[in-house]
Amino acid sequence: MTLAELSRGASAIVVSVRAPPEAPEWVEWLEAIGFLPGEHVRVITHGIPGGDPLVVRVGDSTFALRRIEADCVTVQL
C-alpha cells in the first residue's frame, strides 16, 4: 500500500519510493526529506476538502505532502 492510503493516525514503515514518469526527480527529493527504506512514517492529519494535502511525520520531521506525492511512497504496516 502507499502512504496516501494510510488512514489518519496510522503508522507504517517505508518500503520503497518511486516517482511518476513525468517527474522522475521526485525520488531523490522524497529521499532527501527522509522517505528512505526502513524509516517510520505516520499520517498526522488530512487537509480539507478532499483529504489533500496530508501532514506526515517521517522520522523526527513533519512534512506536508500532496496526495499525489504521498502516493509515491510504498509502505507496510
Binding site: E28, L36, S61, T62
Partner: protein
C-alpha cells in the same frame, strides 16, 4: 557530463566561511550571531535567490567573510535556492568563490535527517565544522547529544550551540579560528555518480551513528504535535487562520493610518517650507513638487511595510506560515496558486508593493511569479480616493434596504471585480503555462518556537533598506521625470487655462485621447492619467489641476464632484471606474516587480497585460452603458 567552466576571477578575496544546513536548522540565527548587523543582503547573480553575506573577526584577529547559503535538504538540488547552495559548495557558482571552510548547522533534535547533509558536505573535501544547534530543545525532550562522541563518529569538530540565545558561540569562534582549517590542502569535490544509492548508504551510516549515541529511537510526542492538533484541525484550523489573517489585515490598515498621516503632514509641511524659503520658480517647483512630493509618496508606504513584515517575520519564525499554507493549499491550488500566496495577496489590498515583496516567502519560482503577476489586481488603498470621488459624483445615494446603500454596493463590486480578475488571471496562467508535470508541495512543518527579537529586528531592517534604497531610488527618479514632463515647456505668454495643458504631459494626454476615446475618456482624463502613473491617487489632484482648481488634495474631491457630474457622462465615469480596477499605471509597483523578478520582462509583461485588461473592461463597460442609454 558537462564540463565545468572555471568561474571568472572577479570574486572578492579573503577567507570565506559558508553556512550550510537543512531549512529550519537555525542557520540564520547562527549567522546573525556570528556577524551581528554587519550583513549585506543582495541577490545571487542572475537569479532571485537572496544572498546574505557578513563579516566577523575571530579571536586571533583573523578576518573572515561569512556566507549564509540557502537552506538545503540535499546537494542534489530541488529548487533554485538549493541549486545555489550546491553550486557554491562545488565551486561552480558564477562569480562566487568556493568557500574555504564549511560550517554545517544541524538541529540536535533531528539528527536523523540533518546528519545526512553533513555526510554529503564532508564528501566535498572542504574542511567541515558542525554546529550542533538547539541542544537545549533536544535535552528538554530527553535526547541530549554527546557532542564529543558525535565528533569522533563523524571525524569533524562538533560544537553544541543555542544560536537563538547566543550560547556556545565563544567556543564555536575558537574552533573556527583553528589555522589547520584555513591553511590545509583543499581536495577537489568528487561528484557522486548517482545520488540515490548514496542517500540510502548515508541513511544507514546515520542510523549506526544514532545507535552508538543511544538516539536511534523516535522522538515521543512533542509540544509542537499538541499545538498542531488544534492548529491543523479541520474545523479549528481554518478558523484560527481566518482570525490571524483578519488581525494582520486590520493591523496593516488601522495601525499604519496614524504614522502615514504624520508622514503626509510632514511632507506637506516640508513642501510649504520650501515654498516660503525658495523663491518661486523652477527650483522651488522641482524641490516641492518633484523631490519632496516624490520622496513623500514613497516613504508614506513605509509604515504599512514595517507592520506587514513584522507579522510575516513573526509568523515565519514561529513556524505558523507553512501551516497556513497547508490549510489553504487546496483552495489556492485550484487556481494554480501556492498556499503560501495568501499573505502576499492579502497584503496587496493595502498596497501591491509590500505584497510583491512578501512573495519572497514562496519557494517555487513559478508560483511566486504568478502571485506577483496577480497581486496588483487586489484593490490597493491608493485606488480608494479615485473610487470615492467617482462614486460620490455619479452613483446616487439610494438606500436598497437592510442598511445597504447603492454607493457601498458599487464599491464592494469594484473590490470583487479585482478579486475575480485575479482569480481568472491566475487560472488562465495555470491553464496555459503550466508544464504538464504535477506541482510539488513537500513542505516542512517545523517545530514551533518563539521568534527572537534580534532576528525580527534584523529582518525588518533589511526589508526597510531594500525598499528605501532600491525602490526609492527608482521611484524618485521617475517622479522627477514626471515633474519634468508636467512642467516643460512653460505655457506661452498670455496663455489661458492651466499650465499643465501646454506641457509635454499635456501633449501626451491629448495624444492619448486617440487611444482612450473609444472607451469614453475625454482629454482631461487622459491627461490626468499621465501624472497618475506616479501613484493612483495622484489622478485625483491631477484632475483638479486640469479643471483649473487651486485647492489642496483633500478639498479636491469635494469641489471636483459637481464639476465632474456636470462634465462627464455616466458611461464615461463607469468606464473610468472599470479602468481603475485593472489600472496598470503605478510605476512604484512596476519598479518593485523589476527588483523582485530581476529584469524588465516581469514589469513589461505586467504593464502590458494589465493595460489590455483595463482597456477591455472599460470598453465593455462604456459600450454596454451607452447601449443601455447611459
Amino acid at each position: 557530463m558537462k564540463t565545468t567552466v572555471a568561474p571568472l576571477n572577479f570574486q572578492r578575496r579573503g577567507a570565506l566561511l559558508a553556512l550550510v544546513g537543512n531549512p529550519n536548522a537555525g542557520k540564520t540565527a547562527l549567522f546573525n550571531q556570528l556577524t551581528g548587523a554587519r550583513q549585506k543582503v543582495a541577490n545571487y547573480a542572475g537569479v532571485t535567490v537572496e544572498r546574505k553575506e557578513g563579516a566577523t573577526a575571530l579571536p586571533s584577529g583573523r578576518q573572515i567573510r561569512v556566507l549564509d547559503l540557502p537552506g538545503a535538504y540535499a546537494l542534489n538540488p530541488r529548487s533554485e535556492d538549493e541549486r545555489i547552495t550546491a553550486d557554491v559548495l562545488f565551486g561552480r557558482a558564477h562569480g562566487e568563490k568556493r568557500p574555504d571552510v564549511v560550517l554545517c548547522v544541524v538541529d540536535a533534535s533531528n539528527l536523523r535527517r540533518h546528519l545526512r547533509l553533513v555526510l554529503a558536505v564532508k564528501r566535498l573535501g572542504l574542511p567541515v565544522v558542525v554546529a550542533l544547534n538547539m541542544v537545549d530543545r533536544a535535552a528538554a525532550r530527553g535526547r541530549a547529544v554527546d557532542a564529543t562522541r558525535l565528533a569522533e563518529l563523524l571525524g569533524v569538530p562538533v560544537l553544541p550551540t543555542v544560536a537563538i540565545r547566543g550560547e556556545g558561540m565563544a567556543a564555536l569562534r575558537e574552533q573556527l579560528d583553528d589555522s589547520a582549517l584555513w591553511d590545509g590542502p583543499i581536495h577537489a569535490a568528487h561528484v557522486g555518480a548517482s545520488a540515490a544509492p548514496v542517500q540510502s548508504a548515508d541513511h544507514e551510516t546515520v542510523q549506526r551513528i544514532l545507535e552508538q549515541l543511544g538516539l536511534d529511537t523516535l522522538m515521543p510526542e512533542t509540544p509542537s504535535d499538541r499545538i498542531d492538533r488544534v492548529v491543523l484541525h479541520p474545523l479549528a484550523g481554518p478558523a484560527i487562520l481566518a482570525l490571524v489573517l483578519f488581525l494582520v489585515f486590520q493591523a496593516v490598515f488601522a495601525w499604519a493610518e496614524w504614522p502615514m498621516s504624520l508622514i503626509e503632514a510632514g511632507t506637506a509641511w516640508l513642501a510649504a517650507g520650501v515654498r516660503t524659503l525658495v523663491p518661486a520658480g523652477l527650483l522651488q517647483s522641482l524641490l516641492a513638487d518633484g523631490v519632496i512630493a516624490g520622496l513623500g509618496g514613497v516613504i508614506v508606504f513605509l509604515p504599512q511595510i514595517v507592520i506587514l513584515f513584522f507579522f510575516i517575520l513573526v509568523l515565519e519564525e514561529s513556524g505558523y506560515l507553512p501551516r497556513g499554507a497547508f490549510l489553504l493549499d487546496r483552495v489556492m491550488g485550484g487556481v494554480g496558486l501556492s498556499g503560501r500566496a495568501f499573505i502576499p495577496l492579502l497584503s496587496s489590498f493595502a498596497c501591491a508593493i509590500p505584497g510583491i515583496m512578501a512573495a519572497r516567502t514562496i519557494p517555487q519560482s513559478r508560483d511566486r511569479w504568478v502571485t506577483i503577476m496577480v497581486a496588483p489586481l487586489m484593490t490597493c488603498s491608493a485606488r480608494l480616493p479615485v473610487y470615492t470621488l467617482l462614486i460620490g459624483a455619479f452613483i446616487p445615494a439610494h438606500e436598497l434596504g437592510l442598511g445597504i446603500g447603492l454607493q457601498g454596493l458599487v464599491l464592494f463590486g469594484l473590490y470583487l471585480a479585482g478579486i475575480v480578475g485575479g482569480v481568472a488571471v491566475a487560472w488562465l496562467l495555470h491553464r496555459f503555462t503550466t508544464v504538464r508535470t504535477p506541482r510539488t508541495l513537500m513542505m516542512e512543518l517545523p517545530a514551533y518556537h518563539w521568534p527572537s527579537a534580534q532576528s525580527i529586528l534584523l529582518g525588518l531592517w533589511q526589508r526597510v533598506q531594500i525598499f528605501l534604497a532600491r525602490v526609492g531610488g527608482i521611484i524618485l527618479t521617475l517622479t522627477i521625470l514626471l515633474w519634468f514632463l508636467a512642467t516643460f515647456p512653460a505655457p506661452p505668454e498670455g496663455a489661458t487655462g492651466p499650465a499643465i495643458e501646454h506641457s509635454f504631459a499635456g501633449m501626451l494626454g491629448r495624444a492619448l485621447t486617440v487611444v482612450f476615446e473609444p472607451i469614453g475618456f475625454n482629454w482631461q482624463i487622459s491627461l490626468a492619467l499621465v501624472p497618475g502613473m506616479a501613484a493612483r491617487e495622484v489622478t485625483v489632484s491631477a484632475l483638479a489641476t486640469v479643471y483649473a482648481l487651486q485647492v489642496t488634495d483633500e478639498a479636491a474631491a469635494e469641489t471636483l464632484q459637481p464639476i465632474l457630474a456636470a462634465d462627464w457622462s455616466l458611461p464615461t465615469a463607469l468606464s473610468l471606474l472599470a479602468w481603475f480596477v485593472f489600472a496598470p499605471q503605478c510605476l512604484s509597483t512596476l519598479a518593485t516587480v523589476r527588483r523582485e523578478t530581476g529584469g524588465m520582462t516581469g514589469p513589461a509583461l505586467m504593464a502590458a497585460y494589465l493595460f489590455a485588461l483595463a482597456y477591455l473592461a472599460s470598453f465593455i463597460t462604456y459600450r454596454t452603458a451607452l447601449a443601455l442609454g447611459g
